[in-house]
Assembly symmetry: C2
Homo-oligomer: 323 residues x 2
Amino acid sequence: MRILITGGTGFIGKQLAQKLLDLNTLTLEGEAPRSIERIVLFDAFAGEDVPSDPRIELVTGDVADPEVIARVTDGVDLVWHLAAVVSSAAEADFDLGMQVNLHGLMLLLETLRKQGTAPRLVYASGFAVFGGKLPDVVDDDTVLTPQSSYGMQKAVGELLVADYARKGFVDGRVLRLPTVAVRPGKPNKAASTFFSSIIREPLVGLPAVCPVRPDTRVYLTSPRRIVESMLLGMTLSPQTLGGERIIPLPGVTTTVADMVAALQRVAGEQATQLIRWEPDATIQRIVESWPSKVQAPSARALGFNADPDFDAIVRAHIEDTAN
Amino acid sequence: MRILITGGTGFIGKQLAQKLLDLNTLTLEGEAPRSIERIVLFDAFAGEDVPSDPRIELVTGDVADPEVIARVTDGVDLVWHLAAVVSSAAEADFDLGMQVNLHGLMLLLETLRKQGTAPRLVYASGFAVFGGKLPDVVDDDTVLTPQSSYGMQKAVGELLVADYARKGFVDGRVLRLPTVAVRPGKPNKAASTFFSSIIREPLVGLPAVCPVRPDTRVYLTSPRRIVESMLLGMTLSPQTLGGERIIPLPGVTTTVADMVAALQRVAGEQATQLIRWEPDATIQRIVESWPSKVQAPSARALGFNADPDFDAIVRAHIEDTAN
């Protein structure tokens, strides 16, 4: 099996690649297991700690460059399209966000379509497709009202992938991701990056800044669950999915205060004292524009799971980073 | 005032241009009346019966050609973007639909953005953004689930225009149009074209084909109301609109049987006998995927109106074509 992961040197890409290498074979629902021959990790950056394995090929380049996209998609069976300019960066640099998040996806879809083999594609969207006045609980039938260019680009991406799937050009699946925490590594330019920092940094004795109020609510999922969901989203058969190709994922609703309380339960009060509270109105506005209470009945029916609670997410992060 | 109407030789474009010429001035809400200096009608086709007036400039070209779009948008104050490949054509020729309906819009938005003057833009969307399993009544908060590439392209266009407006790049307004009937002129490649043909042709003694069952429901508006709505959508102030830039328009819900009954009341039974019933499963499927019962509270609050009933639409068509 020949696999492409765009955004492949990001933390989800790397964890997904390592999981695939460990599995060695992948079983698509209703099919025989197939060995994993090659995984192309494609990204704008070479990144760090990329899994070292003869089956891994690292390719750096521009996701909107037709030549490089033709090369990395050549003969590919499965594509995870994770490459994206994150929320705050796409808001600050409109052209960059459009280039990567929209034109990059359109180029990838057209390139895969022209191969004529309808490869499988998992597209990572997010709950930033919502914003503004929202119902108390967002569900699979809530209208998309993005209030950021990133959210608009992801909403457009969902529609494009669904239509390419409907037309049979790609076997596309959209996973709408909750905010992912606790992310390993360093902060990035996502408005949501502090949701990881305020746990990750104090756990290793480092200070972290929280730019929002303690009562700020958030809809979260852990890296472990995301990797599981990425695999399930790819392996489910077209028959199981039918025409429903946009899958909002289950997650955990919590507050920043509850996250800090979980940190305290695990690491003591000295850890929570490493958090500096420095309100940032822009980040508060962006984060509050996302839904925090979500029901995801379609995903749950398909077998996608949420973490039990935020304490479990913190414990899993500690286990994963101890390795 | 310098005005651009794309799709300007289509029937809505021509009627809108004639209305603007008749008005001679346009008053934007909260502003003084301004004279209409120039109207560029831009289209892929020269068309017929284009209003003859020194203020009209007819330009033909490709909506996805940067050079021609730069020329027709130069110094423009108001843009009505009506150019589109219609539903059945966009479904049959995916590349053409993407080129005109998506890349054409993206080029227009970028070109207007680069002018730096945030001109006003009215974008014509349609209820084909809906499809599949729908609630009994569609309203302003119903999730978009297009089941055609045309519908996907319009849904994407709505999101793009709304975000360009949010960012202040254009003063964009999206009007989501019901099916327009009775259209003057000839049938086109819209799946909905027969909704006009079955009235228009029998009224002048010509045969027409109806490809759907008599109980097929449809959500309609008249050309008169559309031209009114196009003007209102442009003249409303940014303050009145606020952040709500996607406006689903009110219309009339009727059935094909009721349309034929209205024809009979106006033109007698000999007119209805000119309709040949030739079921077409593809058209039936497409038309049935659109919503037929719609509530449009936001638009009504802003002053947009529907026709009173289908009989009134037929009478207006007869008046308009008698001129």
